[in-house]
């Protein structure tokens, strides 16, 4: 390793030693995840301190250019930072759709002014974003969307409804797909626009899921005004940006497959399927149910292989743009997470079946809810079936039946 990188590692280690509060080096309970935003809530005051310190260095977005508030790190430096953070088990300072989805496409498609306006606020966690994609009539066939934006002078008037908008009730701004040309073929009349969720005419209603929680909303737009300059990229070319953003989203969601510390060396650590299974179903040496044991071994091998594949994919792209491999990672990561939840339920037997109240501890009560929540993994961000379509068509280059039939007509 070059001396310069080694020096960077030493400096980073020293800085983290001084600046990462002790409580930020412990496992993060779900209620302490920091999403930022105008109405940010900090269940733990150290979280706020940790965010401010990391944001001041631009390290919430280590590889974004410094002129937009990012850390300006090379991919080698960013890797070192990640390693040093993981070495001290540091919590993520900020979790946001601005970081994982919008930022990367603004860097690729946005104007200098748009980047200046939005990126520094994302880095600092000042604005919380949500994603206006799916509509009641447009799920897997996303490009059939009908939310319309009509130009009136220097602004658009937006009308329509979105659904499955994650945390729309808590978000400050939305990146939204709207139809701006109703005559063109469906993929060619869509634009990608940004607007404030505080605008007149925006309303959001949480949807209660089978898990009992409400991460998703129905979102309604009733004559909402947005400046014409808030369109990202070219007018009617929003589908290009939409697809790119989906690749970023899929890469993010594929991280579910890394849950539970199943990568190499995950061993008997806390929270793994095998450690929980051993607690409920183990004797001194091994799991007493050989069938469950075999399935957990198979799951763990697949998880380890998946973690290696995520790493290999990142190494192969050299930290560059995501590609269609993101569909493979999204598909497999989600299937793995669902398998993990199923196995956990099986391992804990009737202790995993409590819904609320006395008789179960908190971890046990979360098992069934997490299991139910996991069913959305292979629906959100593009269903499992859509990912398999993308792999078959874009990666394996298999023929397109719709195209062939259209040609024959």
């Amino acid at each position: 390793m070059s001396g310069e990188l080694e020096r960077f590692r030493q400096e980073t280690r020293g800085w983290l030693e001084e600046n990462c509060p002790a409580s930020m080096r412990t496992p993060m309970p779900p209620e302490e995840v920091v999403w930022g935003g105008r109405n940010a809530e900090y269940a733990n005051p150290d979280s706020k301190l940790w965010l401010e310190r990391m944001a001041a260095k631009g390290w919430t977005c280590p590889q974004w250019p410094a002129e937009y508030g990012g850390g300006g790190l090379s991919s080698a430096q960013a890797e070192i930072l990640a390693e040093e953070l993981s070495r001290i088990h540091a919590r993520p300072a900020l979790t946001s759709f601005g970081i994982s989805m919008l930022g990367p496409v603004l860097l690729e498609f946005g104007t200098h002014e748009q980047r200046l306006e939005h990126l520094p606020q994302i880095v600092r966690g000042e604005i919380r974003w949500c994603q206006g994609y799916s509509e009641p009539g447009s799920g897997s066939d996303l490009a059939s969307l009908n939310t319309r934006a009509d130009l009136h002078g220097d602004h658009y008037i937006i009308n329509g409804a979105k659904i499955w908008t994650s945390y729309a009730d808590k978000a400050d701004w939305i990146f939204c797909l709207v139809r701006t040309d109703f005559e063109a073929p469906k993929h060619q009349g869509i634009s990608f626009i940004l607007f404030d969720m505080d605008s007149e005419g925006v309303s959001a209603r949480p949807i209660q899921l089978i898990s009992g929680s409400s991460p998703f909303c129905e979102t309604f737009f009733d004559d909402v005004k947005a400046p014409a300059g808030n369109i990202v990229g070219r007018l009617n070319d929003g589908w290009t940006i939409a697809k790119r953003l989906l690749q970023h989203e899929r890469t993010m969601i594929s991280g579910f497959g890394l849950a539970g510390g199943q990568a190499e060396g995950g061993g008997a650590s806390e929270g793994t399927v095998e450690s929980i299974a051993m607690r409920y179903r183990g004797d001194a040496e091994k799991l007493s149910d050989p069938v469950l044991r075999d399935r957990i071994a198979q799951f763990k091998i697949d998880s380890e292989a998946f973690a290696l594949t995520s790493r290999r994919s990142a190494e192969e792209s050299g930290g560059g743009e995501p590609n269609h491999i993101s569909s493979m990672l999204k598909y497999y990561g989600c299937e793995l997470n669902k398998r993990r939840c199923e196995l956990l339920l099986e391992a804990a037997g009737n202790r995993a079946l409590g819904w609320e109240g006395e008789g179960f501890d908190e971890d046990e009560l979360s098992l069934a809810r997490e299991w139910l929540r996991s069913k959305a993994n292979s629906i959100e961000g593009g269903t499992a079936e859509i990912q398999l379509n993308v792999i078959a068509r874009r990666v394996l280059d298999l023929p397109d039946l719709t195209g062939i039939l259209r040609g024959k007509r």
Partner: protein, 407 residues
């Protein structure tokens, strides 16, 4: 920092040259010809000489013993390519198992004598381990009775790869009178012409060359205890041999641990070969999906088949990552036995499953023509079955993987 999973330029060139060689000089038609002619050797000696000239026998042998120090990743890449055309050669038995057994267990003198001959292609080896219908290295019943300063071996071995052509056979045996302790396992180098040794070739479903071996009072001198010669000053008399002496120079590991390391190296190499075969079946199947027309369209346009193809792709990518990581772990001097063992069992279990999946789908997606002997795709299904059984099937390795992770 974790080992990189990317190939360097040198490794990429090696793979390309191996691919070119196999495609031109060892195509699948050669495998078919050897099978059809019921070839006595089961491999082409002329081709083997050319493989030796390419340096494949010395790929993972250190330079001190005449090898080329390309590492396990280097040999793994070659095996991936030989797997694509199902090359019949002594690479697995002689190089992967034999050379590594000598490297792990042998004395300096044995390494210096035997390894250069293996690299030069002058010596063919077989590794006689299995005794029953399934792989079980923890239960060896072949016994070595100390006798006349050496040993007498008695027992039976089966599924011995290349047993019928080997010049020497490495026999895994338990020292008689010793306990079931892992330290009691010994590796014995037996000459193919030794009195009392009976070798019967078995024709396997995939054309791979195996043998059954009977050992009736086969005398082995102390020098041919792999690793024993270095302790020549020890009183090798009667039952006085100390268990620890059976393990050779490196007494920090038991003989069983060394045996496990040899088997793990071979399992990982075999997984690399399986990966190559898997890639080949998959590519052939994709080509067929693009070409074969029914109902007026290529059948690959049907979503039912597309999704199954995509699922195969996913599984293959996972398998590839495990093979790369396992080979890198072997080449990483910091890897301990447990780390290698976990990777070996993960890779062998996963690749066995994926080979089944892809082998079966290869037949199904080719339809009727896939069932014909004239068409090549069936060869891969047959190899999948034998490769999965060899050195432990998926169930064996999942059980071992779980035990290695304490559950």
């Amino acid at each position: 920092m974790a080992d990189s999973l990317l190939l360097n330029e040198e490794q990429q060139l090696l793979r390309e040259s191996a691919r070119g060689f196999c495609r031109e000089q060892a195509p699948l038609s050669l495998h078919r010809r050897l099978r059809d002619s019921r070839d006595a050797d089961g491999f082409d000696r002329d081709l083997w000489r050319r493989m030796v000239e390419l340096g494949w026998t010395g790929m993972a042998v250190p330079e001190a013993y005449g090898g080329y120090g390309f590492g396990h990743t280097g040999l793994g890449l070659v095996l991936e390519e030989t797997g694509r055309t199902l090359v019949d050669s002594p690479l697995i038995a002689t190089v992967l198992l034999g050379a590594n057994a000598i490297l792990e267990s042998g004395s300096e003198a044995q390494k210096a004598e035997l390894l250069p001959r293996i690299v030069a292609g002058e010596l063919l080896l077989a590794f006689a381990l299995d005794e029953r219908f399934a792989h079980d290295p923890g239960r060896i019943e072949t016994v070595a009775v100390p006798q006349n300063g050496g040993f007498a071996l008695n027992g039976g071995k089966t599924f011995v790869l290349d047993g019928h052509v080997a010049d020497r056979i490495i026999v895994v045996a338990r020292v008689d009178g010793g306990s079931e302790s892992p330290a009691n396992i010994g590796l014995f180098l037996v000459d193919a012409a030794a009195p009392g040794l009976e070798v019967t070739r078995t024709i396997m479903v995939d054309g791979r060359n195996c043998a059954n071996i009977a050992l009736n009072d086969v005398a082995v001198s102390a020098e041919n205890l792999l690793g024993g010669a270095e302790s020549a000053s020890l009183p090798l008399r009667g039952s006085q041999i100390r268990k620890a002496d059976l393990v050779g120079a490196d007494s920090t590991r038991t003989a069983k641990e060394k045996l496990d390391r040899v088997l793990d190296i071979a399992r990982i190499g075999l997984a690399a070969e399986m990966l190559g075969s898997i890639e080949e079946v998959f590519e052939r199947t994709l080509d067929y999906l693009r070409q074969r027309e029914q109902f007026g369209v290529p059948i690959g346009a049907f979503q039912a088949l597309q999704h199954r193809a995509a699922e195969m792709y996913n599984e293959i990518e996972l398998g590839r990552s495990l093979v790369r990581a396992a080979l890198a772990a072997l080449d990483d001097p910091a890897s301990n036995n447990d780390r290698i063992a976990r990777f070996a069992s993960a890779a062998k279990a996963k690749l066995s499953e994926v080979f089944f999946l892809v082998g079966n789908e290869g037949i199904q997606m080719h339809g009727g023509i896939g069932m014909t002997d004239e068409f090549d795709i069936g060869f891969f299904l047959k190899r999948a079955r034998v490769a999965q059984q060899f050195l432990g099937d998926a169930g064996f390795h999942r059980d071992r993987y779980a035990a290695l992770h304490s559950f």
